[in-house]
Symmetry: C2
Subunit: 73 residues, 2 copies
DNA sequence: ATTTCAGTTGTACTTTATGATAACCAACTA
DNA sequence: TAGTTGGTTATCATAAAGTACAACTGAAAT
């Protein structure tokens, strides 16, 4: 369906995963922090969702990093 | 209603405007470069649309800058 | 062996971004 | 004053994001 295949999204997803793992959080624990379902976190880290700025912002806040950090890949 | 009121979106919009003006492009000329209508460019620079990553990417490409530049505000 | 944990995937529903069209304002110009 | 240019705003259809739930896999623990 969606079949989004965007390299930038994958890179951002990897970066999020990287930052999440630095906090020793599982996808579900992290998802819970931002009231997400773990399923969506999975897709997000896999680069399968074309996130909006507000979603990126929520994620960066939960990771305690600046938004721009998500683009340092 | 949309009534998006997000400070980050405004900052990104301002940044886009800034970069666009450095190229001496009008909104409509710039919009044309990415097959946008000027109306959408206007809203985008005003921070009234919650852009997706692919939209940000299109904009950054048209501005000949890296995606991350849009977050340097 | 079965429970638990981490992550993935299918699906469904609601909300919103995308993108176009058109009408508008203000400033400038011929 | 009529026409052009740059930008804003309203509205609309369609595609897609946001979000949740459930079912699944594979590993690890007990």
């Amino acid at each position: 369906m969606s079949k989004i295949e965007n390299n930038t999204l994958k890179k951002i997803g990897k970066r999020i995963q990287e930052l999440r793992e630095l906090q020793n959080l599982s996808q579900q624990d992290f998802a819970a922090k931002i009231n997400y379902d773990k399923s969506n976190m999975s897709r997000l880290e896999a680069g399968k969702t074309n996130m909006t700025v507000t979603t990126l912002e929520k994620v960066s806040k939960a990771l305690n990093v600046e938004l721009i950090e998500l683009f340092k890949f």
